[in-house]
């Protein structure tokens, strides 16, 4: 029946052409969109792929099992801390490989281990003094070139002259492999060691602690100040020229290049207030300046999103403005505020330029004990490592970026979780 009525309308060629052109335009628009998203996802995949390829080997570390004879002549049981640890290590190395070796060869064999081996041995003995007079067996990190050799990053096919390890060293290493002394466990040192000149024992502990302190300072300052400022501007401030100017400036502040905040921190916090260089406190203050406008803007948007009917209901019940805000408006806008804050903090976590200016790219070999102690942060640590030529640091740079991305992902996941958790209640 309907077909009959439809077919009575003449279908002119013009209308068909018009329709086809419209459909083609629709199709093209959709295709452009899909192409754009595909490009974005492709670029992201390339980024992650190169990072994983470059960085995965830093998540494991070659270790060598060595038996250290702790002779009483080298280590005084009464005063083990003052022992001759260098001799302990060279004694162990002299007997590590079979066959007689010249002293020069022994010294070269010792270079298979990380240069800090004597400190590892010392700490192990201090922790367990009963071993003095006996033998201590330890898994010691291999020096970077042997680590890379073991991971296949140094090719044995390269002519010896172009290789950083000699054929003789490769022979020694292979003997150790045959003896079952080589293991490649997960590299906990990447997370629990501080920075070092030697890539095999360099880790992110200092940077993670430094970033944590800096973000803590940033949060403690920018969260309450940002929320208070947003509440005042949104709920109490008269709408006049002055508040307009303030609003415009806050929006502009959010777009100021971060390095400018670094300069400000350098001039104000270091030079005028005399705060210590490289301290997470200063880093946190600078990051707080950067995060503040973000928090003010997201908080104002979250407050604006609360329906006016809720405020009316509150005022209608005789609640004071302060009660309306605390009892009704803030609880409703909290999910938005928290999400925005966490995303602001995640931004701050990845921020590098301002931290470089206040010296958080120093070479520091122990994690900071507090906000006033010199430290690096995750992005600046990556920056330092990216500048180092050693093969081990190259892969650690990628690994560091992966760790940073992991933290960012975690923070965003927390933001999403919080939002869903808090909003699900009603």
């Amino acid at each position: 029946m309907s077909e009959a009525t439809v077919s009575t309308r003449p279908i002119s060629q013009d209308r068909i052409r018009l329709r086809n052109r419209r459909n083609a335009a629709d199709f093209r628009l959709r295709a452009y969109g899909i192409a754009a998203i595909g490009t974005a996802i492709g670029l992201l995949a390339i980024l992650l792929f190169t990072l994983v390829i470059g960085g995965y080997s830093a998540f494991v570390q070659t270790h060598i099992r060595v038996d250290f004879p702790i002779a009483a002549e080298n280590v005084d049981p009464a005063n083990p801390a003052e022992g001759n640890w260098r001799a302990v290590v060279s004694d162990a190395m002299a007997t590590l490989l079979p066959g007689s070796q010249s002293p020069a060869e022994t010294r070269q064999i010792a270079q298979i281990l990380t240069s800090n081996t004597q400190f590892f041995v010392r700490n192990a003995v201090l922790a367990n003094p009963d071993v003095i007079g006996g033998t201590l067996t330890l898994d010691v990190p291999a020096a970077d070139i042997f680590d890379q050799l073991n991971k296949g990053n140094i090719s044995r096919d390269t002519p010896e002259a172009n290789r950083r390890v000699s054929d003789q060293q490769i022979g020694w290493f292979d003997t150790l492999v045959e003896q079952g002394r080589i293991s490649t466990p997960f590299n906990w040192g990447l997370f629990f060691n501080a920075d070092s000149r030697f890539p095999e024992i360099a880790g992110l502990a200092g940077a993670i602690t430094g970033s944590f302190y800096a973000l803590l300072v940033c949060f403690v300052i920018s969260f309450p100040v940002g929320i208070a400022a947003a509440i005042y501007l949104e709920e109490f401030a008269p709408k006049n020229r002055w508040t307009d100017i303030i609003e415009v400036n806050i929006n502009n502040l959010a777009a100021v290049p971060s390095i400018v905040f670094g300069l400000l921190g350098l001039a104000v916090f270091l030079q005028i207030f005399g705060l210590p260089r490289s301290a997470p406190l200063v880093g946190g203050l600078v990051l707080a300046l950067m995060t503040l406008p973000t928090i003010i803007i997201v908080t104002r948007n979250a407050l604006k999103a609360v329906p006016p009917s809720i405020r009316e209901a509150g005022y209608g019940m005789g609640a004071s403005p302060q009660q309306v805000i605390w009892h009704h408006v803030l609880p409703l806008s909290l999910p938005g505020i928290l999400t925005g804050t966490i995303i602001g903090l995640a931004q701050a976590l990845g921020e590098t330029a301002p931290l470089l200016l206040i010296g958080m790219n120093a070479f520091i070999t122990s994690p900071p004990g507090g906000v006033m102690e010199a430290s690096t942060a995750l992005p600046t640590q990556i920056y330092i490592w990216a500048d180092s030529p050693e093969r081990g640091f190259v892969s650690r740079t990628s690994a560091g970026i992966l760790v940073l991305l992991g933290f960012l992902l975690l923070m965003n996941a927390i933001a999403i979780f919080l939002r869903q958790r808090l909003e699900r209640r009603w």
Binding site: R311, Y315, G316
Partner: protein
Amino acid sequence: MDMVAGKVKMTQQSVNTAMDPSDMLERPIRLTARDVTVHYGAKQALHGISIDIPDRAVTSFIGPSGCGKSTFLRCINRMNDTIEGAKVGGTIKLDGEDVYDPNLDVVELRARIGMVFQKPNPFPKSIYENVAYGPRIHGLARGKTDLDEIVVSSLRKAGLFEEVKDRLNEPGTGLSGGQQQRLCIARAIAVGPEVILMDEPCSALDPIATAIIEELIDELRENYTIVIVTHSMQQAARVSQRTAFFHLGNLIEEGVTEDIFTNPVNKQTQDYIMGRIG
């Protein structure tokens, strides 16, 4: 402009003489407004409203949309204080006490004059918390049992208790529109007001929910002074004893509801009642 103002004064005099004196004697006056004006910024929304609102009766405000009914209603409990740029002139007295006296506590005033809004707006909290909120902030309950009692009796008075007694801890926003509006009435009642202002309380509701609310309003009249804004003349005729007709920011005519609908004095009122002003 002047001409219009003169005309308004004249009509008000004629309204006053048209009032039924026996009616006024029966019900003491609760609220008196004299020459109330409201400016929103440069725009004048009310041009000198004077009206007496009697105790324990329903007074309805009718008139075309935008004529200032809500604006005048919001003057009574000073809700216009929260609107930036709103300026109120004239006097409004509740039991002879000036509502705009600078020494008066607005919080206490709003406890005495409750308000129900056009769109049901329960707090996004539990049904219990919605009703308990007012008594809490005004310190009306001495303990948990006291508060429970207030909540239950308020829900009962709003005719909602039987429907929600098993789910007092569920969100108030999960109720139907009509139930939400009754929850808002219960919330207003919970602080023991003398006057209840209702701004088109049924405009967002279906006819059945509307009938329930209208019945409720009729019951509440026994204990409260009720002012209701409505865009429905039928509703005004059904629930109110007195009716005031607003037009373009002026109070055109006010009196016993029956008289207004059957025998309006003013030409504009006639036109509106007959559906000639929309």
